[in-house]
């Protein structure tokens, strides 16, 4: 039903990001480079590599592509971050002074693209904005609030609130209001008037390291996953939030994506995206796996004796094939991105196409236009 295109582009992909009209994708093939491919949604096409951005010295851990301004921000384990802009035929890099003394782990542009946030292993979060007078990107740090490495960051649609998850198993919401960059009226949130770096909520729902935080399109809900195979949904984020945690019987998840206010897709070590939904009662439930698991073909053995003899040859052959991967991704899914072009983005409309990238080096495009039929079939 769901996987429409698979591209095997590297041995391992750390992260990927799409541009505004989904014609190009930037990804990191598990080294210090960023490769930009010209993509096409045709399932039989081979994507062509058009640019290679080489400036970082260690693994590039986060990439984000701003749709309106066409700028790419990358962050790496070498404590640096660069903002790349396309000038003519070349991508030019601008170093961002992050003032970090440990690796950067994740990066995201704010909805209005005047700021971006970088999470790091230095237990600090950097919010960077562009200073016109000096013509460079300046950072403001949020220190002392986290007890361990920050794994993932996400902006609220109002451009001011920020959610972070960390390996101390907590999810925190901060205000990233910067005087001079954000207008005063944006600062009125459900929490009232708040200044920069103030921790508004600390969610302690997971018992393991937390990853993959994402806000819903309206900003009313939030979801993140924990390494204890749980997924947590928080609605009415404000002074009185409501939370729902689901414990899964599967391997932990790594990343989530809200498709609409009531649908969410998550992927992780199971190599199979999972669909969650909330119905009229506003309670989130697991709906189904999205990948059709192919059963491995029955191995033909003429006699019982031949089968037994086959089992003894463990040194040369492969007796454990029933554990072989049967999903489209063969290794952990690390990132899920929506495939809605800028012109079609609408908070009311649900996202129907998304892409996943994983440690097997594949970028897979999923299409959920027929999801309602499938759901109708699932219900008795």
């Amino acid at each position: 039903m769901a996987a429409v295109g698979v591209q095997h582009l590297a041995q391992c992909i750390t992260c990927h990001a799409w541009n505004s009209d989904m014609s190009m994708v930037a990804l990191c093939p598990n080294n210090n480079e960023v490769h930009i491919y010209k993509a096409s949604m045709d399932s039989n096409s081979v994507w062509e590599r058009v640019y290679v951005l080489e400036k970082h010295e260690q693994l590039v851990s986060g990439i984000d592509w701003a749709p309106k301004s066409n700028k790419i921000v990358t962050c790496s384990h070498d404590r640096n971050s660069y903002v790349w802009s396309l000038e003519g035929d070349q991508w030019q890099a601008t170093l961002v002074i992050l003032r970090l003394n440990r690796a950067a782990t994740s990066v995201e542009w704010s909805p209005q693209e005047n700021k971006f946030v970088v999470g790091s292993g230095a237990k600090t979060v950097c919010v960077c904005y562009y200073e016109e007078d000096n013509n460079w990107w300046v950072s403001k740090l949020i220190r002392k609030k986290h007890h361990s490495t920050i794994t993932s960051v996400a902006w609220h649609p109002n451009n001011v609130l920020l959610a972070t998850t960390s390996t101390d198993s907590k999810c925190r919401i901060f205000s990233a209001f910067i005087k001079g960059v954000d207008a005063r009226k944006d600062a009125t949130t459900a929490f009232g008037d708040v200044k920069f770096g103030e921790e508004l909520i600390q969610l302690d729902l997971a018992c393991g390291w937390s990853f993959g935080v994402h806000w819903s399109p309206s900003g009313n809900s939030l979801a993140y996953v924990g390494h204890d195979s749980t997924i947590h949904f928080v609605t009415d984020v404000g002074p009185n939030p409501r939370a729902r945690s689901i414990s899964l019987r599967h391997l932990p998840l790594r990343d989530v994506l809200f498709l609409s206010e009531t649908r969410l897709v998550a992927g992780g070590f199971d190599c199979n995206p999972m669909l969650f939904g909330s119905d009229k009662s506003r309670i989130w439930e697991f709906i189904s796996f999205l990948d059709e698991v192919k059963r491995p073909a029955e191995t033909k053995t003429d006699t019982v004796f031949a089968a037994a003899k086959g089992k003894f040859k463990w040194l040369g052959s492969e007796p454990f094939e029933e554990n072989a991967p049967t999903t489209t991704h063969e290794n952990c899914i690390t990132m899920i991105r929506s495939l809605a072009p800028l012109s079609e983005r609408n908070p009311e409309k649900s996202i129907e196409r998304f892409s996943t990238s994983g440690l097997d080096g594949r970028v897979v495009i999923w299409d959920l236009t027929n999801v309602d039929d499938v759901l109708a079939r699932l219900r008795i």
Binding site: Q11, C12, T14, N30, Q58, L59, S61, H77, D78, R79, N101, R102, A103, T105, G121, A122, K123, H147, S148, T149, T167, D168, S169, W209, H227, L251, P252, R254, G268, F269, W314, F320, N323, A324, P325, E330, N331, C332, T334, L359
Partner: protein, 150 residues
């Protein structure tokens, strides 16, 4: 075996297997000890980017003790070619494996698990075979030697 790349929190620009250094308590998971009986056990310690499996094999008598030690030392010395083997076993155990996120990225997870399980199954068999062959050889040599006196 859910491991991921994790840059070191203590030293900049480094990437170390956290289970070996154990500097940050929050990055380690609870170790599991599985004992088949008093003389055989298996310790599994895990962290965010690495996993350490230590095995103590059954050693019933002196001969098995020596055979096991020599055989496992032979394997550990060649740990480079095994990639997931550790050069020195953890204190109190006979052999240790160290699996990091880099191994999981290069190799299939289910094949790594198969390798460790097959290794454990093979070890006992190999040591009994070695013991049998030592005993057989000793008997043959003794028979030949004492023949000259009869």
């Amino acid at each position: 075996m859910c491991l991921q790349n994790f840059p070191c929190q203590e030293v900049e620009r480094h990437n170390k297997p956290e289970v070996e250094f154990k500097t940050c308590k929050e990055l380690l998971l609870n170790p599991i000890l599985i004992c088949r009986n008093e003389s055989e056990k298996c310790l599994i310690e895990s962290s965010i980017n690495s996993l350490r499996i230590s095995i103590k094999v059954k050693q019933a008598d002196e001969l098995e003790n020596i055979l096991a030690k020599k055989f496992l030392r032979f394997l550990s010395m060649r740990a480079e070619s095994f990639q997931v083997l550790r050069r020195k076993p953890v204190q109190g155990y006979d052999i240790s494996f160290l699996i990091t996120n880099f191994h999981c990225e290069e190799m299939f997870k289910h094949r790594l698990i198969d390798f460790v399980v097959a290794f454990m199954e093979g070890i006992d068999k190999e040591i009994s075979e070695l013991k049998l062959s030592v005993n057989t050889r000793g008997r043959l040599v003794a028979t030949e030697f004492l023949r000259q006196f009869t």
